[in-house]
Symmetry: C5
Subunit: 354 residues, 5 copies
């Protein structure tokens, strides 16, 4: 299970804007990809160094810079210097525990959201932070972990699929966000499948393991909600914000993403309801089991305790016991015992215990 | 039980506006019905092909185009081209998992809501998506499944019942929405009946099956809520929106539909309260049953265990046991046993166990 | 118990404004009362027919028309025609399942609220719909059932009690609403009494019947909430609405009614809290009972099972058992048994079970 | 326990503004205190009659009239006449079940709040209604019960403590409200103490009495909330209202009272959370107790039932039983029994039951 | 555990603005630190007396006065006099139970928040009140307890780390608030660790102690929420307030603190969810344990009760019992007993109890 909250306290007391990576260590080399495109041209190269060339932007071209490692202070700082980004923004980029948000810095927008992937093996959500800086004709994206995450979008850019090459940096930003949020549906489908499996299990064979699974699922949902609820605000702001960087034609697309976000939230809330219902079923299935055990115990005891008492009576050693002397005594006592048993069974039938 | 969330992930990564049907496969042929009417005339025909003639609208006539199959990309695309509809809208039409919403595209409004029907046999809700495009003098409706769903409205159009033939396309849209929402009341009545049956059952004969039914009902209500809550927003927007397409006279009717929606939501919330109360009753009826079982067990044990002990005492083989020698020993021990039993019964009466 | 939702589905598919009574059948004759009054004069007559004379209103007089049966289509329709009322309004008048609301039709206001009465015998709420149409100098009221409901107000009009005769139609409307809402307090008092009785019962003698009563009470509260919550909105709107029909002096009175409504809502919410607390008490009182039963069983078993074992040992038939031969054997075994019992009782005292 | 809702239904049907006292009967004589003060002078007298002299106010002086009995219609009515107060206001003064509120009547403000006192003996809240009428240079206060409630403020006025003598009627009103709300903290402290006592009791010695106490406490909190939540609105309105009667310098003080109110609400909500947690602890402590009882029963039964069976076997009277003849039979059987017991105890140790 | 509410009632009845320390007694001497700094200079001294020199501020310098003891009336009063602070503000400074808030007094802002520290030993939160007065070029801070709390910030001022020396008094205030809120994350991490430990414990070895820990944790969270929720409002107000004291460049930093606050609130709410889930697990683990105990009891009883009955039968002393005479009787009865036992075990296997 993932840690509830990751260590970020080491930063406490440092001045704001101090760049320090606070996530888990990443040892891999950084890959910086620079893509320039407009309707006619498409160019892509990898650079290892941030220099002034990076900000020589042509007006008619959109430049997308993707950095796939946020743990390197020098890289982030240098990009900040070249594009004159606010130090607090850079601090947020390097803190993988950031809450999804959008900040308006006038010359550019800063967006940070969570990319979620489903780990099929461990059956849990992998969360990764993506930060986007949207300028008039550039987009800078920072990823935490995955290398080739945005490949489908690169493919679209290369092959001119859709209208992406005709549109500006705001449309590219939309495309990236849309892609990330589409992935949430995959998570939801996987969780939906688990829920249905577990409902099956609850009915056929509930066990303490089932309870543990319900609890884990609940925590997974809590994590998911923490990523998705702020998203609603983020996308809504992007859809309504009045800045020249985001054109009105793009806002219609943002509205579409907003609808998806609401749908995701709706589904999460439904899941919560269903899971809390499963707990009730679990608890009452335990009670039912106990009832069944009690019934067996009671039936056995209620039938045999009186019979044993009778046997005890005629095992007493009193000198004067007339029944004992009679030849009919023994068969008669058996008869009495059978009658008692039959009465008991009728009683249980009436009580619906048999 | 219906799937919690249907597979829509296959679309992830594709450009927005890509038309692809994401619902269950539909193999039946498409039926496109074109209806033209005004106060004096009424004309209805079926077409198999979308051509330019479709958009040759007369000012004085309302045209209603109904498409009863949303899985065919070509049809949807062609209609989009003819009426110059936004690609995102067409994408939404073909996605049967859309959340109810209304989008304002200036020249036309796009409305998508759920048509709900009650499957009497399986005792569950059948949900179908209906998309409406409302233009100045045309309405395009897309249905997912049912063939003759809107027959009563067609009938009204043909027979001039009510004022529908005198009014414009906005009134037709209102009529369709009103008709769909009226169906929700049928669902609510059916669920109300089930609830009352189940309350009866809870009192007379609760069983694990009852619990399962409560859980299923709860899920049905969750599905229902997901369809109805966004509706509130949709109808409210239609009632307040300031566009020339919707006239003020029609808005009074929209207000009426809004009232119905609120009433439906109120009823759903009441059902939720009642169902959660049923669970409490179920749980405490299980506890009561257990109590009753325990009582029987305790009464039997408490009476016979001491008696059996006594019998055991006089079954001991000690050489020197004066009681055993006496002729009165045996009747006396019976007397003692009867006295013990009577005391026990009085004790149970006092405890209210008998 | 009242039906959760009454059949209104028969109307589905009909054009809006279609007049059809959807409530339970009412066979009694209609009584239409027409009252004209101003500061000096008061006149009251019963009419059986709606004709044009009804709308010949003098400016200086207030006319109150009360119709005590909403099931007759002709009457409602004719009144609608004479006063030029909107067809949707008339439809709402004839639908006794309407949610409380106020609609502004410019020339007049339409208000519909629930009159609640307490059925002392069945201990349940009787709900009846009252619709009010407030014009510049007339008020039309439609009742569902009760004949002489508004008698106290008639009395006030006749006897000039208070200032009612000096004021306009808006004040009459206020008086009617105030009267209806005052009745809610009677309902609340009755429910409050039942709650207190039940709390008494819960402590002294809880039984499954108590649980059933709690559940019924809960449903009664749910019904009550459904009537009262929308009322808040209704009265608030009446208090703030900017229309010439409602004068500012009357709005101060509306504010007073609004305060009452809030107080009613507060009380209902308190009741909900208390009732849900009663359920908790019920459940734990069941658990306590079970505990007590278990204690008795355990005490009896724990004392006698070891003693019975001892008796069993000396009932064995082994040839060589030295204790058996001794004269002291029998008294000694009794002594041991007494010692065991005393130890047990001390143990139970320590456990606080005795 | 206090009644949930007091009888106010006797008023139903009467015209608004009808003065009738609806609380419990008060037999004590009324005391009307008239206090005039400004920075230099202070005068206090008791009057028994309301006459016109009462409204001869000097501009430079603040007059405070305190009436300590709200059940006398004549007094209230006469004050209403002299100060030209609205009849609805007077009705509210005489209704001790009023919800806290502030009404703006332009020439004066009407404020009604609850004075709460803690009855140390019965451990419950005593609620009393206080109504304040704030005019430009007068304050009229109506108390329900307590005679010398406002003594500390009188003292302050007499001794010029603080700045009260320098300020106007609005500051006096603030002082009264502040004093009343300060008393709420005493209530909260007392309830806090009870909660801590009960938590102690829950852990050391839970019993059905504890449950009853939790329920009573919960009801006390419900009563408290009903008094305090509307207060928030009241004070907020007083802090923001734009009327000449309340000066801006006084509003800063109102803001301070507002902060206190919020703090009281926060504490009440915390208490609710804690109390609902106590119920959970109670329920699981009952379950724990049951578990312990079951363990004792099971240990005793599990050890002795097999032993008793063995004893029974060798108590059988079969002619041919070789073990019985042997001299070693009896000691051997004891050995077997000891071994069985030891195995059982090891088993229980492993299960953690001993 | 900390007291739920501290005694503040001793103040009730006193005039507002009366300075009286209401917290726990502090016996330590006060330390007043005065720091003057601008970009070039830094000066720090300790004073023991408040005199007029304190308010001789140079325009180009920021003065920070830190008082580390709020229990001394003279000090607080003298500072109030020198800086002409409102008496209510001074009262709030001396009341350590203040709710976090920001008050705008035009010439200066008054901010009061909670400094939280984690007591590693007692595993509980230590709360301390910090009050800040932000003037155009001065900041006055009052601490409740800790001596060297703000050392890291002093260090930054001395060593010119970050841009703090270049900025005004508003940035210093931001720095202090940011530092305090960064400490909240440490609290959250500690609580997160405890939660994870307890989840481990719940699964491996739940006990009544675990329940007590859950309850304590819940109370800790309640305390935390009471400190953090109002903070949201405070920081939001600081971020949006339109006063010349707070510059726009500083507001961007406030926005960053606001994000942190929201993140803290999110985490607290997640914790609440998880803890309430733990209670469910605890309760059902108790039920599971009871089930297991019941199973053992039932298996033992169900096997041995019938066998004991059989032994009892052949312990009867009837003269005529043919089985007894036979040599095969005894081995046969053993055979029957073994068969019964085997059948029982198969039955339990089928029931899944073994």
């Amino acid at each position: 299970m993932p840690k509830l909250i990751k260590k970020i306290s080491k930063k406490s007391g440092l001045p704001p804007g101090t760049l320090e990576y606070t996530g888990e260590k990443i040892s891999r080399k950084v890959k910086i990809t620079v893509i320039d495109y407009n309707e006619k041209n498409f160019q892509m190269k990898e650079v290892s160094k941030i220099d002034q060339e990076l900000i020589n932007l042509e007006k008619s071209t959109v430049r997308w810079i993707n950095v796939d490692n946020i743990s390197l202070k020098d890289i982030v700082e240098e990009i900040g210097n070249q594009f004159e980004l606010h130090p607090l923004l850079l601090e947020d980029v390097m803190n993988p525990e950031q809450r999804p948000k959008v900040d308006d810095f006038e010359r550019y927008l800063f967006i940070t959201i969570k990319m979620l992937n489903w780990d099929q093996e461990k059956r849990e959500i992998l969360s990764e932070q993506v930060s986007l800086i949207l300028g008039p004709n550039y987009v800078i994206s920072f990823q935490e972990r995955e290398l080739d995450m945005f490949d489908p979008i690169l493919e679209r850019l290369k092959t001119r699929k859709g209208q992406i090459r005709k549109m500006g940096s705001d449309y590219l930003t939309y495309t990236l966000i849309d892609y990330i949020i589409d992935n949430y549906f995959i998570i939801l489908e996987n969780i939906g499948d688990i829920i249905e499996d577990m409902e099956e299990e609850l009915i056929t064979n509930p066990s303490p393991v089932t309870l543990q699974s319900i609890h884990n699922l609940k925590r997974e949902i809590i994590t998911l909600r923490k990523s998705v609820w702020p998203l609603r605000e983020v996308i809504n702001k992007l859809q309504r914000i009045e800045v020249p960087i985001i054109k009105n034609t793009t806002k219609i697309y943002m509205r579409d993403v907003y609808d998806h976000t609401i749908q995701i939230i709706d589904t999460i809330e439904s899941y919560r309801d269903i899971i809390s219902g499963m707990l009730d079923i679990y608890l009452s299935s335990i009670s039912n089991k106990m009832n069944e055990i009690m019934k067996v115990l009671t039936i056995i005891s209620t039938i045999f305790i009186p019979l044993t008492f009778l046997a005890g009576v005629y095992g007493m050693n009193f000198k004067y016991m007339p029944e004992i002397e009679s030849t009919l005594g023994y068969p008669l006592i058996w008869l009495i015992m059978v009658i008692i048993t039959v009465i008991m069974i009728i009683f249980f039938k009436k009580k619906n215990w048999l």
